[in-house]
Symmetry: none
Subunit: 369 residues, 2 copies
Amino acid sequence: MTKPRKKGAAALPLNTILDGDCIEVMNSLPENSVDLIFADPPYNLQLKGDLHRPDNSKVDAVDDEWDQFSSFAAYDKFTREWLAAARRLLKPTGAIWVIGSYHNVFRMGAELQNQGFWILNDVVWRKSNPMPNFRGKRFTNAHETMIWASKSEGSKYTFNYEALKSLNEGVQMRSDWVLPICTGHERLKNENGEKAHPTQKPESLLHRVLVGSTNPGDVVLDPFFGTGTTGAVAKMLGREFIGIEREEEYRKVAEKRIKSVKKYDKEALEVSTSKRAQPRVPFGQLVERGMLRPGEELTSMNGRYKAKVRADGTLVGKDVKGSIHQVGAAYEGAPSCNGWTYWTYKKEGKKVPIDLLRQEIRAEMARPN
Amino acid sequence: MTKPRKKGAAALPLNTILDGDCIEVMNSLPENSVDLIFADPPYNLQLKGDLHRPDNSKVDAVDDEWDQFSSFAAYDKFTREWLAAARRLLKPTGAIWVIGSYHNVFRMGAELQNQGFWILNDVVWRKSNPMPNFRGKRFTNAHETMIWASKSEGSKYTFNYEALKSLNEGVQMRSDWVLPICTGHERLKNENGEKAHPTQKPESLLHRVLVGSTNPGDVVLDPFFGTGTTGAVAKMLGREFIGIEREEEYRKVAEKRIKSVKKYDKEALEVSTSKRAQPRVPFGQLVERGMLRPGEELTSMNGRYKAKVRADGTLVGKDVKGSIHQVGAAYEGAPSCNGWTYWTYKKEGKKVPIDLLRQEIRAEMARPN
DNA sequence: AAGCTCTCTGAATCGTCAC
DNA sequence: AGTGACGATTCAGAGAGCT
């Protein structure tokens, strides 16, 4: 008997490609078990026979509209069903990415909202090398749209803000991503030298998605696995994947591809983290440790206000008492204030933010004794 | 009796702003009479509490009564009705543009398709100066989406391919447009010096829409006229406009604005295009694109130092972590360092500056397609 | 005049934890 | 489950005012 890795994840077929219709397969997996779903569904579905109108010899306008509506209805039914199955699989803290073009993305987005998913961003993949519009009748179709949504309004989700900011030269990542389409050696070929899949996504796209919205060890499911870009990048990044794909050809190509992929070293997978992840240090510790003395005077960063430190780690100023945050907020008439960066103390004649003292304590805590 | 300008256009109140609910007003106008509709409907933002910038200033949110809907169902009903009224007004050769954000655009897009409109492109307005995400919880919402659709599948529509190509330095116009938001003197103020409308669109956006999808003399209708950007640009470009707006304040501002607008001389249409600076390439892109692998070792140009690449595009060396610039500066004890020219990677046994990889990306970005 | 600093602002679904 | 305290968090560009 194997030990389950995580609660609720016992029965998950990790790092495998499952054969079959994604709706049925997803419904056979345990609910609330997956951290992220990335889905690149087809939009050119073959319609089922019963939804086709009878083969009239002549088509008038009314029939035309009915036909159009019936095909949208079939597509909507498909979308509703696979999204519901995906939603069932997601942990409450999970999230989903879907990608599409104007043919299908509006219907997917509306259905996501209808099912209670909470859209976090729509992200535009701006292709640096799209296919031109040869006939000159429209704009070059130079982008695709992704939708990123949490499971419900208010639910927690993973967002590695600092890592993405690092990926973007220190500026916060925007909702428009400029990345090239998948070409060259990355583009998989079949035995005949033809491209193995018509819409293979670039690994760079998945890299950004997975670095930004999962942590190492998270389970990532792709219900339209194709040639397995999601699985390949998940493996490189130390995430677990589950693929679902009904075409044997694609499964074979994906299997081989993923086998040849190597996981990056552990050190390379650590990403920049935010202060939020660091341990909380009560201001009182600075006093207890003698880094600040009771009675010592702090000055606001802008030099306008002063307050005295008390033995219990509160401040007392003109007509105000309370925490470093409360006194700062009261002085500034602001709804809130980060006292750590607002207050300074005198060190060798110079104003130094008290946050530096907190950093000393944190560094000491991080040291392995 | 006045001579009708065009067949079916006899009763059109050209170049006026009509007062009232846009659905009722549109239904009172003659069908099949309008060449283009540009619609910027309420987005149904569903904002909850206040939002403050990191400096504690409060963001002036779009909390206007006209953007409040009780549910998606109510918003969908509204969308269905105004789109049906718009469709009735359009000539068979007409087209429509709608603009929205992820809050509403998926619902609009799906309803456009349901009613038989034929989507020609979705066009992304990439804002060069969007509002940042102040809390670091999502991607910067840096774009809005427009949908361009003809009245029906197969119907003729206007597309001035060559004019747009000229606007784009001789290169085919793409589906992503980089334009700044409306600020400065273009942003209209009321008597109190406050912004006259919370969501005024830039004239540059309408300029491109109207140059691309109408001809001089065409009738352009905007059912959510606001402060009249559509009317102002239409007048400049020698198109006829019809505005519908139910808020008297907005109508007054728009009226005054349009009165002061002059129709362009032909040659005034030439716009000087600013020379583009070299695009900034984040180092993280080299990692995302697989040009460098997480875990790969870089060597300083002088051969003295080494550091490893991490998945988020930062470097980790001996006791140092950070961007390519930060780690280089730390090693050299210098205040700053150009990491692009400082670091090298191994290619076929030889040390190659990473700047060469950046040049590859830039070359690709500069390529016309 | 040119350049500098400082201030302000923009369609935004913008916390989390302990008690 | 509701309350209160902590404390993390921003980019581009315009305009005003000053040197």
